[in-house]
């Protein structure tokens, strides 16, 4: 069965690739630390069907901070979902493998994700008109996750863009982790059941 998600993904990949070749982002960017180093565009990983936003790098790109705005279109009788995400990633550069003159692999990175889903419907905890405080103890619009990534970096000979990278991410969300907490659920809900995947691209500006 061809799923709706896959059709959307195909559209995303086509439009995404076009964007990489046509974008002209960098003219006004200088190397001041507070200016974003790259734009991150991510597919899935529970932060949106598509999410994008500015990112900053510190300590020779060992530490990355991403800010993402995510959008999930209406797939069924639900409404579109908007969320904002803060991600902190650590990439140990000792592990970097050079695969060629213009290409390298960062096989392993770890990160933390904090996602806020917008909408009163998702904030049960804060809704004290309807519920006593703590009626639904977890009922907050915030979700947090632990993630692992692998990424391939490519140097570009473009006039405006320095590099582009593609990454793949494995994410483990608190909401699903709670289902694994009980020892009674061992063997029923596996680590793989409770995990999600995402991937994306980073588009680096020329300084």
């Amino acid at each position: 069965m061809i799923q709706l998600k896959n059709i959307c993904l195909l559209i995303l990949i086509i439009t995404g690739s076009t964007t990489i070749y046509s974008q002209d982002l960098s003219d006004s960017i200088t190397s001041k630390w507070y200016l974003p180093k790259y734009i991150k565009v991510q597919y899935a990983g529970n932060v949106g069907f598509i999410s994008l936003g500015p990112s900053w790098s510190f300590y020779d790109e060992k530490l990355d901070v991403n800010f993402l705005v995510g959008y999930v279109p209406k797939f069924s009788n639900d409404k579109a979902i908007f969320s904002t995400t803060l991600k902190i990633n650590l990439t140990p550069q000792k592990l970097t493998v050079n695969l060629g003159e213009n290409i390298c692999l960062n096989p392993f990175g770890i990160g933390l994700t904090l996602n806020h889903t917008h909408g009163k419907k998702f904030n049960k905890y804060g809704n004290t008109n309807q519920y006593e405080q703590g009626y639904y103890w977890w009922g907050v619009p915030l979700s947090s996750a632990f993630n692992l990534q692998s990424e391939l970096q490519l140097k570009l000979k473009s006039k405006h863009l320095k590099r582009v990278s593609f990454y793949f991410e494995f994410t483990y969300w608190d909401v699903y982790f709670y289902s694994q907490l009980s020892k009674e659920n061992i063997g029923v809900i596996s680590f793989w059941d409770a995990s999600t995947l995402g991937f994306g691209t980073k588009i680096y500006f020329k300084n």
Binding site: Q3, L4, N6, G70, K121, S143, S179, G198
Partner: protein, 263 residues
């Protein structure tokens, strides 16, 4: 070379996505590509022919008790005389799609069909949409032999206590059809004795239950502990949560019933 590499990468990622698609989630709260639909209706169609005396199992509040629920499923499956299983709501804890699918995969191992009423936890986030798409209508009824089972949404607090949860006029119309059934069993999640039930609707609800004189009993969940009582002349059964690894075996005949707590 670069173009080729990029297309190769996109291609392999796309392939990978198709292979393991449900891992690519867009939001914890998403409702998309549901694996199971209309479970209640499909299970009602699976009901066996009813005898004058028949037996059902009552469970509820399965929430995140996956392991314990599996144990209860095994326990119920040891009894070949169960016609169907009543689930008194709170199928899930956080109202998210993955939980709904996980819990159905546990309950689908029941030999007998299970039919679930909507609970307050099932309504959290996009849970209202998930229940509707996976299970069906929130108010529905079916006949099993001489007994009419009426499932009704009583989770008033989830809607901030409007005047139509529970929907009394719908309940009245279901009971008013009294030529077509001998006795009625009302299945709901929040009992009318609970603070999460709309206080203003308690009397109208009770009056409707006794109005046609055919209500055999009310079955509810929410309180996580087996309990029975008589309120306003009607017998009430509070199911045990599967966390306690127990279920209620209910034997029903015209004008009477017997119950056993099985563990």
């Amino acid at each position: 070379m670069l173009t080729r590499l990029i297309s190769l990468l996109s291609g392999s990622i796309l392939l990978l996505t198709i292979v393991s698609c449900d891992k690519f989630e867009y939001s914890v709260f998403e409702v998309s590509d549901l694996k199971y639909q209309n479970i209640n209706l499909a299970n009602i169609e699976r009901l066996p022919q009813s005898n004058d005396t028949f037996r059902i199992a009552v469970i509820g509040d399965t929430q995140r008790f996956y392991g314990q629920s599996e144990d209860v499923v095994d326990l119920i499956n040891k009894n070949p005389d169960i016609d169907f299983v009543v689930h008194t709501g709170d199928l899930v804890d956080f109202g998210v799609q993955r939980e709904y699918e996980w819990m159905h995969e546990v309950l689908a191992k029941l030999n007998a069909p299970y039919i679930a009423v909507i609970g307050n936890h099932d309504l959290i986030g996009n849970g209202d949409i998930l229940y509707k798409e996976m299970y069906g209508q929130e108010n529905f009824s079916f006949l099993h032999g001489h007994t009419k089972f009426i499932y009704i949404n009583t989770n008033s607090r989830e809607y901030n206590f409007p005047g139509d949860v529970p929907n009394i006029s719908w309940l009245d119309s279901e009971l008013a059809d009294s030529a077509n059934y001998k006795q009625a069993i009302i299945v709901c999640h929040v009992s009318m004795k609970n603070v999460d039930f709309n206080e203003d609707l308690k009397d109208p609800f009770n009056n409707t239950l006794s109005k046609y004189g055919k209500t055999l009993m009310g079955i509810n969940g929410h309180n996580h502990g087996f309990d029975t009582s008589y309120t306003d002349g009607i017998f009430r059964l509070n199911s045990s949560s599967t966390s306690e690894k127990k279920y209620v075996e209910l034997t029903i005949w015209e004008g009477g019933y017997n119950l056993d707590l099985v563990e």
